[in-house]
Subunit: 334 residues, 2 copies
C-alpha cells in the first residue's frame, strides 16, 4: 500500500513494480495524480481499478466533462468504482483488499492512495509563523510571512486568487515557481508583488487533455457571482483538413456583468487544449467579458484552427444563450 505524495513515494512504487511485478492495482482517489497513475499502470500491463469518492472522476472539472474522462479511462481498460468510500484496507495471504463502506470488496496486488495535499508548514508553525486555510502559511502579496523578512512560497503557503480577491489554498507547480521568484527577489531587497492565480490547471489522461481556468459554476456562485454556463462542442481545426477532432468547452460567465468567470476544455492532447485554456487564462487575468473574447486576434490556419477559433465560438454560444434567456425573461415580463 503506497501513498503518493513525494518523489520518494513514486520511486518506491517503481521499485515495487520492478521487483514484485504485481498484476493488479487499486487506486484510491480520482484527482490528477490518480488518473496519471492509472494511465501509467495500464501502460505497464496491470489490471487497474480506480476508486473515486466523488460520483464523477476529476472533480476539478464539472461532471459533464468528468463523464468523458470516465469513458476514456474505461476505453483503456480501467475499471471504475465511483461514488464509493473506502472503509478499510485488508490483507489476506499475499493479496491486499479494499472494503467499501457499502460492503463491496476488491482484491489487488498493489494499492495506491493519492488523496488530498496538506501544506508542509510544520517548520513555519514551530518558528511561530501564522497559518491559515488547511494550515498553509499566511503570506502577503510580497510573499512575506507574518514575521518580517521571512518569505515563503510554494505548496506550503496560501495563494492570492485574482478572481476570488482573497487568499485560497491551491498548491500547483506553476504557482510555486511564480511565488518563489517574487519571494526570492524581495528577500534580496526587491519589491515585486505576486499577481495571483486564476486557477489554471491541465492534465493528460491517455489520449485526452483536460484543462480548466477560473471558477467552476459552483465556485463562482459561492463567491457571490451570478454564474451561467454553456457547453459547446467544436472542431479543433477546419474539418476539411484531415484529422479534425472535437473539443468540449464549458464557459462560465456572470449573467449580470457579462464577465468571464471560468472555462473548462477537454479534447485530444494534440489539439492545443492546454494553450487554448491559456487564452482563457489570459482573458481572466485581464477581467475580460465573455463577449470580448471574439475581439482577440487569434491565429488561424486550416490545419490548426478556424477563422473564429473554437474558443471564440464557445464564447459566442455563451452570449447567444444569455441573449435568448434575457429575451425570454423580457417576454415573460410583458
Amino acid at each position: 500500500v503506497f501513498l503518493l505524495h513525494t518523489m520518494e513515494d513514486s520511486f518506491k512504487v517503481q521499485e515495487y513494480l520492478n521487483e514484485r511485478t504485481p498484476r493488479s492495482a487499486v487506486i484510491i482517489g480520482a484527482g490528477y495524480i490518480c488518473l496519471e497513475t492509472a494511465d501509467a499502470l495500464i501502460h505497464r500491463g496491470l489490471t487497474v481499478t480506480l476508486v473515486s469518492r466523488p460520483k464523477t472522476v476529476l472533480p476539478t472539472v464539472e461532471p459533464e466533462l468528468g463523464k468523458l474522462v470516465e469513458q476514456e479511462l474505461a476505453s483503456h481498460g480501467v475499471e471504475l468504482w465511483t461514488g464509493v468510500e473506502i472503509a478499510s484496507i485488508g490483507h489476506e495471504n499475499d493479496t491486499l483488499s479494499v472494503l467499501s463502506t457499502t460492503g463491496q470488496k476488491l482484491a489487488a496486488d498493489l494499492i495506491i492512495v493519492a488523496t488530498g495535499v496538506r501544506p508542509a508548514s510544520g517548520l513555519a508553525v514551530a518558528a511561530g509563523l501564522k497559518t491559515g486555510q488547511r494550515g498553509a502559511i499566511l503570506v502577503n502579496r510580497q510573499m512575506e510571512t507574518s514575521m518580517p523578512n521571512i518569505y515563503a512560497a510554494g505548496d506550503c503557503v496560501e495563494t492570492w486568487h485574482r478572481l476570488l480577491r482573497r487568499y485560497t489554498y491551491l498548491p500547483l507547480g506553476t504557482t510555486s515557481h511564480k511565488q518563489g521568484r517574487v519571494a526570492g527577489e524581495n528577500a534580496i531587497g526587491g519589491n515585486r508583488s505576486f499577481a495571483g492565480v486564476v486557477g489554471t490547471q491541465v492534465v493528460k489522461v491517455f489520449e485526452l487533455a483536460i484543462a480548466r481556468t477560473g471558477l467552476l459554476e459552483s465556485e463562482a456562485r459561492s463567491a457571490g457571482f451570478d454564474p451561467f454556463t454553456t457547453e459547446t462542442v467544436g472542431w479543433d481545426h477546419k474539418a476539411y483538413y484531415p484529422g479534425a477532432r472535437q473539443l468540449h468547452f464549458r464557459v462560465t460567465g456572470d449573467r449580470t456583468t457579462g464577465r468571464l468567470l471560468g472555462a473548462q476544455l477537454l479534447g485530444h492532447w494534440k489539439s492545443e487544449v492546454s494553450k487554448r485554456i491559456d487564452v482563457f487564462a489570459a482573458a481572466l487575468f485581464h477581467e475580460m467579458a465573455v463577449d470580448d473574447l471574439s475581439a482577440l486576434d487569434l491565429s488561424y490556419t486550416p490545419p490548426l484552427s478556424s477563422p473564429w477559433d473554437p474558443i471564440q465560438m464557445a464564447a459566442q454560444d455563451w452570449s447567444r444563450a444569455i441573449r435568448k434567456q434575457q429575451s425570454r425573461l423580457e417576454l415573460a415580463n410583458v
Copy 2:
C-alpha cells in the same frame, strides 16, 4: 501558368494536376500560399522549385526563422531560389521556363504565381466610396465607409491596428470575420466597434508551424518604438517526458517602456505553436509588458509544458538581456 488568388484559381490548378500530371513545378513567391503550395505539390510527387524575391522565404517573420523554414523546405526536397527576381516566363514546345533578371533559367511543366494581394474595391470606387492604402476602402471603427449607412468588411478594407494606432492593409480571414460581425450588427442598427488587430498569423509548412503576432523589429522601429529582440530556444514540454521538441521564439519589446511589441514562434505543428502565439496576442491586446508575461497563470502538465511555459522563459530571457544591456550602459557611464 496559374495565378493563385481565388478558390476558382485553385480548382483550375487541381484540374490541371489531375488531367496533365505535370512532373515539375516552379512556384513564384515566398509567402503563405506559396509555401503551402510547395508542401502540397511535394505531397503529390512533383519536383518543386520555389523562387523567392526576398533573400529569405516567409518575410512575415524575421530571416532567423525564415532560414529554419528554408531548412524544412529543403529537407522535403523543395529546391530554393532565394533573392531572385523573375524577368520573364517563356514557353518552348511543351515546357515552360522562367528567366531571372540575372540570366538564370529554370524549366517546368507548371508555374504557379502567388505574390501579393490587392483589395477588390472596384465596386466601392465606382459607387464613390473613398479608398486609402493600396486602394482599400476607408472605414471607421464601426466599419462604416465614407458614405453613411454603407458598411464594408474583409480583404477590401483598411484595418485598424491596435499597436500602430492607425489603419493598415492586412487582409486575413480572421479579421474579415471580426469585421463582418461588426459591420453586420451595425448595419441593422447596432453599435459595435471593431477592436482592431495585433497582426496574428500562422502557417503550417510540412512539419512546422510558424506564427507571429504584433510587430517585427523593423516594423516597430518604423512605428516609432525603441525595439529590442531576443531569440530563445526552449522545449515544448518537459524533456523527461517522451517526444519533447524545440520551439524557436523571437520576442520583441520596447527598450524604454518594457512593453511587449511582438513575438514570433516556430516549432513542430503539434507543439501548440499556434495557441502559444495566441497567448502573446492576448498579452498584446492588453498592452502588457514583456516582464508581466511571467505573471500569467498558464497551464502546465509535463507532457505539454513546463512550470514556466516556454513563452514565459522567452519573456524572461528578454528581461535578462535588457537588464544586462542596461547595467553595461550604467558601467560605461560611471
